[in-house]
């Protein structure tokens, strides 16, 4: 059994989980035009361009990507730690008991990539961030690793964390997730033609893509509950070799990941919801196929319409949103989506919909899709008996 002891996040919606929640509840989006002067070194970057950047994004002028991410990860770790009671905190920090996994797509690659005379990187671009974080946080643990499975990186980290707990490699695992948007990812996604000049409208008939977003998140899981009523009931991954980027139209791979966690539909799904033509269609197909025998038709929502696609952190942000829904017993909608694609079969929480059959929210499925044909799902449950 794995329990979620605490979590915190920092995104374009603000520096706390409460601010993230408020943005989702209030239907606020956080896309802004990118300052062309900021990334003038990036060849071919086509402006105007919108992205969901940290409010403190001016720090890009003085901070490297590595410094920025380490600082944001320390911030969310301290918030997570401060949310624990004294006894739990002491247990978590007991030497040798805590493992740390860092999930990211590109780490600090922007510190090197568009220089006139780029230095040789002697390391992968994630490990220096994790090492600096551990040093700054005074966490000397040999159980540490970076996971980079594209946009499923966070859910891969949750999967790995459960494996660590099951094999008793660690008693608690801190999952850190973070990506800072820079010229490398902006330009790359621009040439892929998936960035939209419009609002991000997941599952809408008129969907046209997404904006990228900054985020850092921390999720602390443990083999012991320490009074927490949030369970990480499962995490699963499935990779298909269909194509380098796009998933197969069948949705079979995502469906395989989902059904590893059971075929009874959850109360709600926090979908990847990138608002691209292909991805949204595949999610709809996979959700329908996975739960077609279930009595319940789950409702589907998502977060990217508000904070953008936060890449390696997106699964962690969605997991935190799921935890907040379970804790508060409230939902939020896809606020920018007016008309759901008529070809879709699932039930979507759009801006004016009010679910009338959601008395109690017991379990939430989080889904992710990533380049490389990787698909992931995680299930979070709440133990109502433990609620005050």
């Amino acid at each position: 059994m794995s329990w979620i002891l605490g979590y915190a996040c920092n995104s374009s919606a603000g520096g706390t989980t409460d601010e993230f929640w408020s943005a989702l509840k209030d239907g606020r989006t956080h896309s802004h035009a990118v300052d062309p002067a900021r990334w003038s070194a990036a060849p071919g970057l086509m402006i105007p361009l919108s992205a969901c950047l940290w409010p403190s994004s001016d720090s890009r002028a003085v901070q490297t990507a590595k410094e920025c991410l380490v600082s944001q990860l320390l911030n969310v770790w301290m918030q997570t730690l401060n949310g624990l009671d004294d006894v739990t905190r002491a247990q978590v920090l007991k030497p040798g008991d805590l493992g740390v996994i860092f999930a990211s797509t590109k780490g600090c690659i922007d510190d090197f990539i568009f220089k006139d005379d780029p230095p040789e990187i002697a390391s992968d671009p994630l490990t220096p961030i994790l090492d600096s974080f551990l040093s700054a946080a005074n966490l000397d643990t040999p159980e540490r690793i970076c996971v980079s499975t594209a946009c499923t990186s966070s859910l891969s980290a949750l999967f790995l964390a459960r494996s660590w707990l099951a094999s008793k490699r660690a008693r608690h695992v801190l999952i850190l997730a973070g990506d800072r948007i820079g010229p490398f990812t902006l330009r790359g996604f621009q040439v892929l033609n998936v960035l939209t000049p419009d609002a991000i409208q997941p599952f809408a008939k008129s969907r046209s893509g997404f904006h990228l977003g900054d985020a850092a998140a921390a999720i602390l899981v443990s083999a012991e509950s320490f009074g927490s009523n949030l369970r990480l009931a499962g995490a699963a991954l499935d990779t298909e070799g269909y194509a380098l980027t796009r998933p197969s139209q069948s949705g079979d791979s995502l469906s395989r990941a989902i059904t590893q966690l059971g075929t009874e539909a959850p109360s709600l799904i926090v979908a990847h919801g990138t608002a691209t033509l292909v991805n949204d269609a595949i999610e709809d197909k996979a959700f329908s196929a996975s739960f077609h025998k279930s009595k319940r038709r789950p409702l589907i929502t998502g977060t990217k319409w508000s904070i953008g696609h936060t890449l390696g952190a997106s699964g962690a942000m969605d997991t935190i949103a799921a935890c907040e829904i379970l804790r508060r017993q409230e939902t939020f909608s896809l606020a920018t989506t007016a008309d759901v694609d008529r070809d879709f079969r699932c039930r979507y929480l759009v801006h004016d919909s009010e679910p009338d059959d959601l008395d109690s929210i017991e379990s939430i499925l989080v889904s992710s899709l990533g380049f490389g044909g990787i698909h992931a799902a995680a299930k979070i449950e709440i133990d109502h008996a433990g609620l005050p």
């Binding site: 060849p43 970057l45 996971v147 980079s148 490699r169 892929l192 194509a243």
Partner: protein, 215 residues
């Protein structure tokens, strides 16, 4: 008891001729060296044994740095190059060649990324007994045109149809030696121990794991 069998494949990139698996991989000629090498080695292994792994763990030092630079230096205009700038994506041609779907992880921990791949593979087998066979793989650049693929097969005990190789190891649980350096060993330490047949019988992989030479 988990058995570990390593295999090494050296290759030249760009390849002098069209690979035998070209029909299985869409636009194979656009692959970077790392994707190409994994597919090439995967094809060799697939021909040797028809058994597929239950899971794959990709662990290549330097992630996709060189491909990232290649994308940037070419004007950052090619979507075909950009899609290779994630370390897990380079495993896709391998998946296609060996017709694999299932659990595929990608880890980084330089300068001990290969070791991390082995440790995570072992951990997955311990935590999930249904995983009977895991392949861990990584690619290392030897010079401008020469590359080396490391493939490691991990299985629960000895099994039929395993790879044909002379060297094998077991990975076993072991108390921490107390030597902090032992768990900070780098890939180079591991490869040196594994390949040169040094006399020391065991190699401390992690706090509670060590590799012991069988043959």
């Amino acid at each position: 008891m988990i058995e570990l069998r390593p295999r090494i494949f050296d290759f030249t990139f760009p390849a002098p001729e069209e690979p035998s698996w070209s029909s299985l991989v869409e636009r194979w000629y656009q692959l970077d060296a790392y994707s190409f090498g994994l597919a090439e080695a995967g094809q060799c292994l697939a021909m040797e044994t028809r058994l597929r792994p239950d899971a794959l763990v990709l662990a290549s030092p330097e992630a996709s740095n060189r491909t990232d630079f290649s994308f940037a230096r070419s004007g950052a205009a090619s979507p075909a190059r950009f899609v290779h700038t994630l370390p897990n994506v380079r495993g896709v041609p391998l998946l296609q060649v060996i017709r694999f779907t299932g659990l595929c992880l990608c880890v980084q921990s330089d300068p001990r990324t290969q070791l991390a791949g082995l440790i995570e593979s072992t951990g997955l087998m311990i935590a999930n007994p249904s995983l009977r066979r895991i392949w861990a793989a990584g690619v290392v650049r030897l010079n401008e045109r020469r590359f080396r693929v490391y493939f490691y097969e991990l299985t629960h005990g000895a099994i039929d149809h395993s790879w044909q190789q002379e060297t094998s190891f077991v990975i076993e649980k072991h108390e921490n030696s107390g030597d902090a350096a032992a768990v900070k060993a780098t890939d180079n330490d591991w490869l040196s121990w594994m390949e040169t047949g040094r006399t020391r019988a065991a190699f401390q992989l992690a706090r509670h794991l060590r590799a012991v030479r069988l043959s």
